[in-house]
Amino acid sequence: MIPLTYMMSLSAIIFSIGVAGVIIRRNILVMFMSIELMLNAVNLAFISLGSRLGSMDGQVIVFFVMTVAAAEAAVGLGIILSSFRNRETVHADEMTLMRW
């Protein structure tokens, strides 16, 4: 059996890659993909903790998170698309109509 530490470490590493992606990358679609990566890292943590604790909660939560992530993808892509129609850009640095 794989130790919990390994699984939690993997989850933490993937989560960190997601956070770094959101902070470093400037393409909105890539930032969005990084956010999905963060959510999947959390799913991994929930599954490992659930199986370790022997409780069903952890497994059930993952379904909720996956559903929410799907809804979020639909809404997010819609928002990005409607902005692209007006601005012809998906670059975060060009979102400068409002600042300070």
């Binding site: 963060m38 903790l49 409002m98």
Partner: protein, 498 residues
Amino acid sequence: MTPFNVTAINIVWLPILPMIVIAIAAMVVLLAGVRINEEDSEGLGWLTLAALFVAFILTLGIVGQSGVAFAGAISIDSFAAYFELAILIAAMFTVLMSLDYAGEHHIPGAEYYSLLLFSVLGMMLMATAGDLIIIFLGLETMSLSVYVLAGIARRDPKSNEAAIKYFLLGAFSTGFLLYGIALVYGATGTIKLGPIHTVLASGAMGSNRMLLLGIGMLLIGFAFKVAAVPFHMWTPDVYEGAPTPITAFMAVGVKLAAFAGFLRVFLVDLTPMTGEWSSVLWVVAALTMTGGNLMAIAQTNIKRMLAYSSIAHAGYLLVGMTAGAGAGGAILYYLVAYAFTNLGAFAVVIALERLGVPSNKISDYRGLGTRHPLLAGAMAVFLLSLTGVPPMAGFVGKFYLFYAALHQGYVGLVIIAVLNSVISTYYYFSVLVAMYMQEGGVEVSRLSARPALVAAIGLAAIATVVIGAYPQPYIGIASNAFHSASGAEGIHAASLEP
């Protein structure tokens, strides 16, 4: 693995009846929109208002009940009822402000009102949550709807940009909140709020690192949602770019719901760990007040100024949270005082957009006192309440909040809060000065204010003055509501009243 036991789940429909009404109404509005001309959405608005009113009446029936339903997923207590009523009132005001706005700005009515109802559903779910997953689901139901609402003026690039910024940072913060939930679940072995409190209160956890990291992540997630410095960057841009009724809804409804979740998790269920998180919150509160107020001074756009002002007010509320459960009643009272005041202020901003200040520049408010004395008078009431001048609700809220924090021994933080309150006078009064002491300004159109909008402004002004002048009954309701939440979880925080 424990077998799934259906009979052990206590299914009670009455406490979630208001939410069922809202959910059905949201779908009915969406379907009715198919048969209605996109720009002729006033009927849908009245339907929405009726649904919110029915839910309001049904929620009144929950007041005073206590217990849990759906195997602990739903908490039935006055705390939930208090927030649900406040959220429904905020939504009703938003609909009153939107009735004319939606049609005039070519906003698709069916989508607009059904998303409004769905986000109200999410907010109510958050207020009544009994476990961390319901908090997450409520938060996401609310947020996903509000992301779209912020960008619903599809042809307006500012609205697009507001939606993108809100969506990216909102989804980012959700990741942190969810990771926090996972870690707290891993450390305590449960996601139910009551049992988490029991585990923590037993002292078995000590300072488990997974638990501390989880609490930290939860704190980040909630700090994003209530727009606390340094997680506030999205607020001014989103508030400026979104359609103004939605800005009002975000400033009040989203903040109410976020604080409902924040209070229930931190002040009720993580109380045994207060020593660990209150010092962090101390710093966040001080930064939030100071950052919000200092940035507000430099603003020339009234929506941006009110956005920074809402950050500052979140800071005052965090002062109360730092003080712990003793300030619970004060926080609940302050939230409602803040809600009425801000709804009113944004309603005046909408009225002025109609009357020829579409740019929302504060300099365009010059001479308003002579041209529109009633509108300027109402704005003065709201600005004085935000500043904290008696007898407005804002004064009593601040007094009660700071008094409670002082009573718990947070002298330094209260001094910072009072100094910040003084700073805030500058930018609130600069609007008053522009309205009453300067000449000029612009007057493009001569549209008359519409009855629904006038009703919203009038009711907000009356509420601001009444709950400020006669605060005693409302303070009683607020503090009972807070203690019903702590009572339901078996916590008896002694001598919490100042």
